[in-house]
């Protein structure tokens, strides 16, 4: 498995500032002909140690699967802010 950061795929991505969708499209252009799998991970998210393996395992079980997403775990603690955030999510 090789992990590519969007900014390192094309140095112009960081300066073009056309948004995430534009960056994903650039990576799609590279990967679509190859049939490879793309992992999208937001900057404020941190996967559990075996999370990526579990995603790939689920995807590999079904050739008709195009998208497999993760299960979000929100660490908020116990506070008024936490209660508000739980309500928002």
């Amino acid at each position: 498995m090789r992990i590519l950061r969007l900014k390192t795929v094309d140095s112009t991505l960081s300066s073009s500032q056309k948004g995430k969708s534009s960056a994903i499209n650039r990576v799609f252009e590279l990967l679509q002909p190859t049939g490879k799998i793309l992992l999208l991970l937001n900057g404020d998210a941190m996967p559990f140690p075996d999370a990526i393996d579990n995603l790939l395992e689920t995807l590999s079980k079904d050739d008709r699967l195009a998208v497999v997403s993760s299960y979000p775990v929100i660490f908020t603690g116990e506070s008024i802010a936490s209660d508000i955030l739980r309500l928002m999510w």
Binding site: K18, G19, K20, S21, S22, I24, N25, V27, F28, E29, L31, Q32, P33, T34, G35, K36, I37, L38, L39, L40, L41, N42, D44, A45, M46, P47, F48, D50, A51, I52, N54, L55, L56, E57, T58, L59, D62, R64, L65, A66, V67, V68, S69, S70, Y71, P72, V73, I74, F75, T76, G77, S79, I80, A81, S82, I84, L85, M88, W89
Partner: protein, 208 residues
């Protein structure tokens, strides 16, 4: 969010996709995860999630950090700009301010008066756009995603992003109007004079 049994919704905090099954995202797509999942379904592919693929979402834990959390605002109007993202910093007060602005009303208070107006979300220099009739079939149905644009992007008469004014945090700092300042000053003078009187009485008693 992905939850048990909700296989048709996609958490885009972390996901794996097969790019060869999908197509490019439209420019400026905000919810890329939902778009890719919807596109995959329309193309006849499947969408799923893995409950064992856990991802930690970093969210604020203090009340002070809640300020600045994103809140969606969708403007529905025949004059709303199409495919437009506003960079104007808005709050709930902005909606009140807009009502006051539109109906020429006096502001409720200084905080509302200073809230940024969402005026850049509208384009009034044209005829109102006709309504979109949502249906079970046709271009404006759940079977068509994304919904086709009413005006082709190349014919838009305005930029697709912008800001009317950029004064971050302006409205978050409440300013004091003259009446409030007068009350505060009067209170301070009253407190000082009361204490001064008390000291005078105390020293007079000691002398006696």
């Amino acid at each position: 969010m992905s939850r048990e049994g909700a296989n048709n919704h996609s958490c885009d905090e972390m996901m794996v996709v097969r790019p060869s099954y999908l197509a490019k995202l439209p420019p400026g797509t905000i919810n890329d995860g939902a778009y890719l999942a919807g596109l995959a379904t329309i193309k006849g592919y499947r969408v799923s999630y893995s409950p064992d693929a856990k991802v930690i979402i970093d969210v604020p834990t203090r009340l002070a950090d809640v300020r600045g959390q994103r809140l969606p605002l969708i403007v529905i109007s025949p004059y709303a700009k199409e495919n437009y993202v506003s960079e104007t910093l808005l709050s709930h007060l902005s909606i009140l301010h807009y009502i006051e602005y539109n109906w020429i009303l006096n502001p409720l208070n200084s905080a509302v008066a200073q809230a940024n107006l969402p005026l850049d979300l509208f384009y009034f220099n044209t005829q109102p756009r006709p309504p979109l009739i949502l249906n079970s079939t046709g271009p404006y149905s759940y079977k068509s995603y994304p919904v086709p644009l009413q005006i082709p992007l190349e014919h838009l008469e305005y930029k697709r992003s912008g800001s009317l004014i950029n004064t971050p945090d302006q409205y978050l700092v409440p300013t004091l109007d003259i009446a409030t300042i007068a009350i505060i000053v009067a209170s301070i003078i009253y407190i000082i004079s009361t204490r001064f009187e008390q000291r005078k009485r105390t020293s007079a008693r000691r002398k006696m």
